[in-house]
């Protein structure tokens, strides 16, 4: 069992499969490309299942570790491993990949092989990010994953796609290159090691810690994205095809937050404590201010994009509470947001495929023509606003509790998101789904077909299951989160 390099499989099955899909070539072979892509996505998911079933929840150590020398000249290793923090994201990622492949089945008719290949390759690269224990390996996957997303937004995106794609790429590149300098500095300080686990033990004086923390903050803050470097996200979401939005919201945003847990907190704990007020302030601005921004959006995708920023603000807030409720709540929120925001974008995609409009004003009365769809959309909207018994509630509630533990007023401000979230989500739902059928196009809408029903139903099950019984999720992360918090509490000065 342990002899099988499961993490390598999780990374390379989608990438190699993606290259095979790419090799099917022109659109004449589109059906073959689709089938092959689905097979690869399912295979990619299957190889991640043993990661969960074989996971030992009792330890905070890295599991399924693979260690091989890659570039000995700089002591760069192909070092993989997962702990309770990262393992769930591999599963989520592989799962979302299947959904994305299915969701793009009919909609994408142009360059099908390239579309599917880009998603599969990106899925493999993201698995690499979540399992890398070598800083350069992490960085390589982190950067390389920009390429497929850049192409996805740029080739299959909307009218203003070029601007959005380039903005997305340059913003994230800027952040990550600053991080690269911090990584090189740590490499020097640690006497020539790129191992993240070694760096967790590395003592550092305060001043470099602050600088390293800021470099990481820029890199991961752009990716999360945190206010005020969030402006690339609404553009990217609006212009991206549905699949691109789903991956972006469900997985790509998690990379930044994951970076905080893997790099910022354990490597520079003193700076993290010192600068926690800054991050908390930025997070609260994201939660409240961006919540209001979401309220006034006329474009559905933009609205969900802003709501993502607001929810991710919750995640960074939870991390910097430095208590287990906050961190675990933030992790649960990340997983839940993966399901919910993915589902929201899929719902909008379903509408967009039929009417080619994302404007809220163009809809109204959808429930009369698409009742099944309206029911699913309802559930996901509720989850997005954090209704109890959906997954959205669990994480938010834990973070609010953690925040109250830390400081009552921070908890108070954070809790306003429950109102704001409900306001923008439900108000949008009301305007799109209820009311009279004002638009003749809406009257001609057809309800979701079997394929659409299938992926929405699967997501609905996930959202409800996680809302009703979150224990399987929190159980996995418990030991690792406690170890992390213990680590953060010890000064490295």
């Amino acid at each position: 069992m342990t002899d099988i390099p499961l993490l390598s499989l999780a990374i390379w099955v989608p990438i190699i499969g993606g290259l095979l899909v790419l090799a099917t070539g022109s659109d004449r072979n589109a059906p073959l490309a689709r089938m092959l892509a689905l097979a690869v996505a399912v295979a990619g998911f299957v190889v991640t299942i043993p990661l969960y079933t074989g996971f030992d929840v009792g330890t905070s150590a890295m599991q399924f570790v693979e260690l091989q020398s890659w570039v000995p000249r700089f002591n760069i290793n192909y070092h993989l491993g997962v702990d309770g923090i990262s393992v769930l994201f591999l599963l989520l990622n592989a799962f979302i990949t299947i959904i994305v492949v299915v969701a793009g089945w009919q909609v994408i008719q142009n360059k099908v092989a390239q579309y599917m290949a880009a998603f599969l390759i990106m899925s493999g690269l993201m698995n690499g990010i979540f399992s890398a224990l070598d800083a350069v390996l992490f960085y390589v996957f982190f950067e390389a994953s920009l390429i497929p997303l850049y192409l996805i937004i740029g080739i299959w995106g909307g009218a203003n796609r070029v601007y959005a794609a380039i903005k997305f790429f340059l913003y994230t590149l800027f952040g990550s290159l600053l991080m690269l300098i911090a990584l090189l500095y740590l490499f020097m300080q640690s006497g020539g090691s790129f191992s993240i686990l070694d760096w967790h033990q590395l003592p550092l004086p305060m001043e470099p810690q602050i600088l390293i923390f800021l470099a990481f903050l820029v890199a991961f803050g752009v990716k999360v994205p945190m206010w005020p470097v969030h402006t690339w996200l609404p553009d990217a979401h609006v212009e991206a095809p549905t699949g691109g939005s789903v991956v972006l919201a469900a997985i790509a945003l998690k990379l930044g937050a994951y970076g905080f847990l893997r790099f910022s907190l354990p490597i520079v704990p003193d700076a993290a404590n010192e600068l926690a007020p800054l991050v908390i302030a930025l997070s609260l601005i994201a939660v409240v201010y961006i919540g209001f921004v979401a309220l006034v959006q006329a474009d559905m995708k933009k609205l969900v994009a802003y709501s993502s920023i607001s929810h991710m603000g919750f995640v960074t807030l939870g991390f910097f509470m430095f208590n287990s409720l906050g961190v675990e709540g933030a992790l649960v929120q990340m997983i839940s947001h993966g399901f919910v925001s993915g589902a929201m974008f899929l719902c909008i995609g379903v509408l967009y495929d039929r009417l080619h409009s994302r404007q809220i004003a163009d809809y109204g009365g959808v429930v009369h023509t698409m009742p099944k769809f309206a029911a699913f959309f309802m559930l996901f909207t509720m989850a997005n606003s954090g209704l109890p018994a959906t997954s959205g509630f669990v994480g938010e509630f834990m973070v609010v509790l953690g925040a109250v533990q830390y400081n009552f007023w921070i908890g108070f401000v954070a809790a306003t998101t429950l109102i704001l979230g409900a306001a923008y989500s439900l108000w949008m739902y009301k305007r799109v789904v209820f009311g009279k059928v004002a638009n003749p196009h809406v009257a001609e809408l057809e309800d979701i077909n079997g394929r659409e029903f299938a992926f929405l139903a699967v997501l609905a099950v996930c959202v409800l299951a996680m809302g009703l019984y979150p224990f399987p999720f929190t159980e996995v992360m418990h030991a690792s989160v406690n170890e992390l918090l213990r680590h953060v509490a010890v000064s490295k000065l």
Binding site: F74, Y150, G154, I155, F169
Partner: protein, 489 residues
């Protein structure tokens, strides 16, 4: 005075190339009817055989001959191999292009061989005179090649500009050499180093000479403020010649920098490092900013080349920190790795331009890449590799080149320089992304299928894949650079 017969063995490759240059010349005179093909094939054969000779005569240790004018060491051998290799590929890419424009005269290949010989002499010089002779031999051949399309006003103008500025730079270099001679009493690199070590050199004269030497080197590398010729020559020269200029001569210039600055003037490293620091920072800034404004892709690549050479200098200037030479080997090998990586990427980028050109059509604007993904998704993918590699995005060799250079800079403690380089890389990424954008996001203007000779297709694909493969496994090339420098120092 008795005459000692020198040991010819270490110089076998140079002698062979010189003889073959004469053979090509004779062949092109006497076998006029088949001269074109014959000259090309002979040249390629010469480069291949020279590579074998270099490999077989490789000693692995430093050998001096011709009264210490000539040095044979691993550094020289590795660089010579890279020079044969990139010249051979450049000629292979350019052949069809020249034929389409009816300028594939046998003399072109003769010039290419003479240029190669000049570079070989530069790489193996252990004395300032052969260094200068090699440099002139290379440069004069290149000036002529730029003007090879003699009916084109633009090419002739570019050649003139190149020649005038190049001659000026050679003059500066020669002047600097004479100053160093005045200060140390010798032109031999080890002798200069010895004089510096014994502190017998006149410091004022030496510094004066150093400035001129650095200026000459910077001109040949094409870095700010001696970069003015680069965009004009790259744009004006026939693309096949631009390809030649942008590749192997950079390696020769790197060798010149290493021999002059490190072999001879290592003891005043902190002086020339200071100069290179300004030059490198200015090149990275100007190269990247100016490249954004370009519509002509040859000009864009010229400015990008300026910034890449600035990056390469970052490695050279991080060797000695406050007298500590601990990091020198690491820093210099990162610069060498960067130079070789750049040559590989540069070959592929100009090769793509040649691939898209055909009789009566010059692919030289960024817009000529429009919709390439729809015309040929394979070559679009290759160009994507090249562009992302040049931007320093991982899984491509360009990332490891940047990583190793930045690592040297950070090790030397120049954080501001690293941050500047990084910020400029982000700006630089914009123009590389724009090329990817027109290839993938725009619709083709020109629907004609791509036609190129099969060997060009195969080689260009191999070139593109090499960029990815070396990015996945950079270790071999990295250690080769480090090992070559270690064994030669």
């Amino acid at each position: 005075m008795n005459f000692v017969v020198p040991d010819f063995y270490p110089a076998a490759a140079e002698i062979f190339v010189a003889v073959m240059a004469l053979v090509v010349m004779l062949a092109s005179t006497f076998a006029r009817s088949i001269a074109r093909n014959l000259a090309y094939l002979l040249t390629q054969a010469t480069l291949i055989v020279a590579a074998f000779i270099t490999i077989f005569t490789m000693e692995g240790e430093v050998v001096l001959t011709f009264s210490n004018l000539f040095i044979s060491d691993l550094l020289g051998d590795v660089l010579k191999l890279m020079i044969y290799f990139s010249t051979a590929i450049a000629l292979l890419y350019g052949r069809g292009y020249l034929a389409d424009r009816k300028i594939d005269k046998p003399e072109y290949y003769l010039l290419a061989l003479l240029m190669t010989l000049g570079m070989m002499v530069m790489v193996t010089a252990n004395h300032m005179l052969p260094m200068y002779i090699g440099l002139e031999m290379m440069s004069l051949a290149l000036y002529t090649m730029v003007a090879f399309d003699r009916d084109s006003a633009r090419s002739t103008e570019a050649a003139m500009k190149y020649f005038v500025l190049g001659a000026l730079a050679s003059g500066l270099l020669l002047y600097g050499m004479s100053m160093v001679y005045g200060a140390t009493g010798t032109l031999e690199f080890s002798g200069v180093a010895q004089a510096l070590y014994n502190q017998t050199a006149n410091q004022n004269v030496l510094m004066f000479g150093l400035v001129f030497l650095v200026a000459g080197i910077c001109f040949k590398l094409g870095v700010v403020p001696f970069h003015m010729w680069v965009p004009d020559v790259y744009q004006g020269a026939p693309t096949a010649v631009t390809l030649v200029i942008a590749t192997a001569p950079k390696l020769a210039a790197f060798a010149m920098a290493v021999r002059l600055l490190i072999w001879a003037l290592f003891d005043i490293a902190e002086e020339w490092q200071m100069m290179l620091m300004l030059v490198a920072a200015a090149s990275i800034v100007l190269g990247n900013l100016a490249a954004i404004a370009q519509q002509n892709i040859k000009r864009m690549l010229a400015y990008s080349g300026i910034s890449h050479m600035g990056f390469m200098l970052l490695g050279l200037l991080s060797g000695v920190v406050e007298g500590d030479r601990h990091f020198a080997l690491n820093a210099y090998s990162s610069a060498m790795f960067y130079a070789i990586s750049y040559v590989i990427m540069s070959l592929a980028s100009f090769g793509m331009l040649i691939l898209l050109s055909r009789a009566g059509f010059e692919a030289e604007n960024i817009d000529d890449f429009k919709g390439l993904n729809k015309r040929s998704s394979w070559y679009a993918l290759m160009m994507l590799f090249v562009m992302f590699s040049m931007a320093g995005v991982p899984f491509f060799i360009g990332f490891f080149a940047k990583l190793s250079v930045l690592q040297a800079v950070v090790a030397a403690g120049y954080f501001w320089l690293a941050v500047l380089a990084v910020v400029m890389s982000v700006i630089g990424a914009f123009y590389y992304l724009r090329v990817v954008k027109v290839m993938y996001f725009d619709d083709p203007v020109d629907e004609s299928p791509i036609h190129a000779a099969p060997e060009v297709r195969v080689m260009l694909s191999a070139n593109g894949l090499a960029i990815a493969a070396l990015g996945l496994a950079p270790q071999a090339l990295m250690s080769l650079c480090a090992f070559a420098l270690l064994r030669s120092l």
